[in-house]
């Protein structure tokens, strides 16, 4: 579906429940995945996903096309809920990393793909990503999984494109250091 078709669908969804249902089916997997990557819990992800769409339904009448695509608007709602979840939840993963086995990394910067050969190291990387601060994790998910542009990510996170670029590079440096050192402490590289 191209942008023009989506724009028509959004306009129709303001007055037609079936059109809203179509929008929902189009985005539910991605919104769920976004929440799951933040919460690491299916129950929490389901809860946040349903709240995202209910909030979108309530706010859709006031939605105005401002150049940013609809997905940025929807992900912004999801992002705001995630930020609240981090603030309110006492059970979300802490920033420090708890990896049982030390990572079998060579001392020089390895090829990150070869670094992932073992399932253990994959799990370790997941833990590293999970343990990133909320802002960096959001950026990683939107950039690498959702394939959003820096402008769109800026719309979602309420930041300028320049701020997103800077955050992206800081996040990459941080990830590179973790992968190089095999360190279990993210905060050490912050």
């Amino acid at each position: 579906m191209n942008n023009e078709e989506e724009r028509h669908l959004v306009t129709r969804a303001k007055v037609d429940p079936e059109a809203f249902g179509e929008l929902y089916r189009r985005y539910v997997d991605r919104i769920y995945n976004y929440h799951y990557r933040h919460t690491s819990s299916r129950v929490e992800a389901e809860d946040l996903t349903s709240r995202t769409f209910y909030r979108a339904l309530r706010s859709l009448e006031g939605y105005k096309e401002t150049g940013a695509p609809f997905q940025a608007w929807l992900f912004r709602i999801a992002h705001n809920l995630v930020v609240n979840w981090y603030r309110d939840s006492t059970s979300h993963p802490t920033v420090s990393i708890d990896i049982d086995d030390p990572l079998p990394l060579p001392s020089a910067m390895p090829n990150p793909e070869s670094w992932l050969t073992a399932a253990e190291t994959r799990r370790a990387l997941v833990k590293v990503i999970e343990s990133l601060p909320e802002e960096r994790k959001t950026l990683i998910i939107l950039k690498f999984v959702e394939r959003m542009s820096n402008v769109e990510i800026g719309e979602v996170m309420g930041k300028t494109e320049g701020a997103i670029k800077a955050l992206y590079h800081r996040t990459l440096i941080s990830l590179k250091k973790i992968m190089r050192e095999g360190s279990a402490d993210v905060q050490a590289v912050e």
Partner: protein
Amino acid sequence: MFKRSSERYVVIQDYVPLHEQHAIERAVVTVLTPVRPSDGFVDQLGYDLTEEARKQYEARQRYVSKALRIFGFVGGGLASVIGGIAIWLLVHRDDRVARPSRPQARAQRQAAVSPG
């Protein structure tokens, strides 16, 4: 002394070369495989949302039609009052035009009574 621009600014690209950026990206994408919600959850939420949307639209339509009725009632009442006033003014203006003013009437009467 002033430094050259290349000395003053840290070039981020030096820290994470492009090929490493791509490698990190591929590594992240490899481990962050999409997690899908269960079909039951998707169907149930979809049904609930469509119902909620239907209720919301119906409520909005009821609100709009109620607002239109009130507007019509108030607007109609106002139009009636204004119309009534306008008609009353028109009728009485005709009366005033038809009936001469008092000094004129007195002058006419005196003219009729006097012999010359």
